[in-house]
Point group: C2
Chain length 442, copies 2
């Protein structure tokens, strides 16, 4: 029972598995489905995983397959999986200090500008309240817009569901028939509210709390600066690339007026990181755009956020290392601060493990699913990055395919490194170092 002593990452893994298990048991009940027929267990498990891991890939249509009870279970799983993970992961780091190094704690403390555990708890509570306030505002704005299209009760319910789903980057919708937001491709209110919910949710706990303190402190931590600038860059760069690739595509942007072209370019750039809401038909995008979205999905959101992927900071650390190497500098420097070697190695590890995982899963699915490679790669990366975008493969998955995607969503949410730490042995003390050896690289 040694594993029960449990490092925080191990507890996270077990806790998540438990929530998904309970959710799947509730969702398989007849009362959870719209028709009153019990849902096959694999689909209930898939739905529970997609909701808890805030992914958004669905094998059955959430809006038409599940009853209101089922949808509320899904909503709760999203809230627990998104906001809960975000705060719990941070709290764990403070309460269960066994496997978390002093350095890790110092980073969090520095980032949060708090030095006592009491201060941290106060802060977590504050951020949760802020998050709920953001969700409530989003729900209200959505409800007002939806009033034009449906009954007041339904508009409020839809408003709440989508605000929670989008802030937590779940990207699950109950519009029905897998439509996502394609009906609202040109609606400024829906688009802007959705993007703001996604972006604030994806910045992560540390940055949100840093931002709430900004008025008082007038300064941001290095972590927040990196997250904000890289997120901003990726959104802008992504929108430009998508706009250029899709401008003349008759299946997507060509029929739209210029304003909607720009709006949809931004929407499709924000969404892969890692909301999973789409307003353009992904299957008709050009291959180049589809692959570009795969890359955006792989990078994902920021650490400790409701989003997945290798994270913006990881990506920044890698770019920093490459830049330093090319310039012949010894240190990786970001905003006039040098990164410790260990941070860069960690970024490298997260990236390579993630890449390996995505490649192996894609290879396996290539043998079980009879679809084109890019469609499979897209699906696997989407599951890993807990994005939820699909080129249409999810509903056609074989049983093996569903199991692999469930595993990918789970691993993707908890992070390959968390899992790696959780499964690895306790690191021993370094008693001696080997002599330096030399090999030729490149």
């Amino acid at each position: 029972m040694k594993w029960l002593y449990a490092s925080p990452p191990r507890l996270l893994v077990i806790g998540f598995a438990l929530i998904i298990f309970i959710g799947s048991q509730l969702l398989r009940l007849p009362v959870a489905s719209a028709t009153g027929q019990p849902t096959p267990y694999i689909d209930a498990l898939f739905t529970a995983t997609t909701a808890t891991c805030v992914t958004g890939l669905v094998t059955v249509d959430t809006g038409t397959h599940y009853s209101t009870f089922g949808q509320i279970v899904i909503l709760l799983l999203i809230q627990i999986g998104g906001l809960g993970f975000m705060t719990m992961a941070t709290l764990f780091a403070f309460f269960l200090k066994r496997r978390i190094s002093l350095k890790e704690r110092l980073i969090l403390q520095e980032a949060l500008n708090q030095s006592s555990i009491e201060g941290i708890i106060r802060l977590v509570r504050r951020v949760v309240l802020y998050a709920l306030a953001i969700e409530a505002t989003g729900a209200l704005l959505f409800a007002i817009r939806f009033l034009f299209d449906m009954s007041p009760g339904r508009a409020v319910y839809y408003g709440i569901f989508h605000a929670v789903s989008f802030f937590n980057n779940a990207g699950i919708d109950i519009m029905g028939n897998f439509r996502s937001l394609t009906d609202y491709v040109g609606d400024p209110l829906v688009n802007i509210v959705t993007m703001l919910l996604i972006i604030t949710g994806g910045l992560g706990f540390v940055v949100l709390s840093d931002l709430t303190d900004f008025r008082r402190n007038k300064k941001l931590s290095l972590h927040s600066k990196v997250v904000l600038s890289m997120s901003g860059f990726l959104i802008l760069f992504g929108a430009v690339v998508i706009f250029v690739f899709e401008y003349s595509n008759p299946g997507t942007m060509k029929p739209l007026p210029l304003g909607e072209k720009i709006l949809s370019a931004f929407m499709q750039s924000v969404s892969p990181r890692t909301a999973g809401v789409n307003t353009l038909d992904l299957a008709t995008l050009r291959q180049a755009t589809q692959f570009f979205i795969v890359v955006l999905m792989f990078i994902g959101a920021s650490p400790g956020s409701t989003g997945g992927g290798i994270k913006t900071t990881t990506f920044t650390a890698l770019i920093g290392a490459v830049y330093a190497m090319i310039r012949g500098k010894e240190d990786v420097v970001l905003f006039r601060h040098r990164l410790a070697q260990e941070r860069v190695y960690k970024a490298l590890t997260v990236t390579l493990l993630s890449l390996t995982l995505v490649m192996v899963a894609t290879m396996i699915l290539s043998t079980t699913e009879d679809h084109h490679f890019l469609k499979i790669l897209f699906e696997v990366t989407s599951a890993f990055g807990t994005v939820g975008l699909t080129m249409g493969l999810t509903t056609q998955l074989t049983l093996t395919g569903k199991i692999i995607i469930i595993l990918m969503m789970f691993i993707g949410r908890l992070g390959p490194l968390t899992l790696g730490y959780a499964l690895g042995p306790k690191p021993g003390r370094v008693l001696y170092r080997h002599a330096e050896g030399k090999i030729i690289i490149g």
Copy 2:
């Protein structure tokens, strides 16, 4: 004219460009083509690049399009590009010490077990002689086998051409009609000689010289140990994966007897790293196998060899870093030697630049060529890794496509890092270090 002062990498880039230019001018002449009609310049340039960069992707069939004169030009370009690069790159490192750090020189000296420049030159000469001896042996064995299928003169010529082409990992054949070695899928002699030529050519200068000294020294350098063990592992692992994936594929292995199945699995595992000879039809391989071969092509051969890719040592350093991180160790340890941080960063840089290059080129080709994503990714990786395998895209490339593939072959041969160094400014001395900053990774 400051760039003419030229670091060794810059000289390499210029030298290579010059050789390709001269080769393309010779190959466009009417006398170089079998019909006596001048070859279109883009195809002559493509052929000169593919030969000099020992890639093997061809837009026109070498066996039927070019005259014997043309083929001999190609053969010379292969020999200069393969063996020449291999030795020149090393000699440069000693003669033009301007941009090569003391550390780099020490690595080479250690790896070569030579401490004086005279010793190095002697060694280079020895390795060239060994290389020519290996090529001659291969040519003889091929010629004997070909005697059964063709006239003696032709058999000798074919023997020499293919031995040189395979040892230099060019993978260019003159069998005609793009057949490569598919006619000899089950021939043990041809397969084994080919594989031995490819493998010895791909181990690299340093390892070859280390091996020739082994009888005397009874010990290998760390570099050679890493190269030999990783190469061995990849060949074995690759063969197993390909065997499993293709065993029941009616388009490839299914019709073959067990012995030929195993032989072809090894052949297809050795070849992507980076010979480019195939005995199975690549277009009918399963998607999973095709993608797996893309990965093998990306890893490629060993440093200072006739092969391309990110190199086995780079790949090993990355795996070592990931392993160290997961185990919570500070040092990357290979064979009881620790790697300097700078080596790991270099491995990371080479890999990420290469990955970015392959992805961007694939994205661009996705917009210019009307083919499936995997076929394009395969072609681009093959060009970058100077492998020369194709799923059939090369001959169907548009003009833009040809230019991009030419650039990929050129960059792939000289290495993104060489180019990065060549283009970057002189590194200044470190006058101060920034304070350490912290960001959360993963």
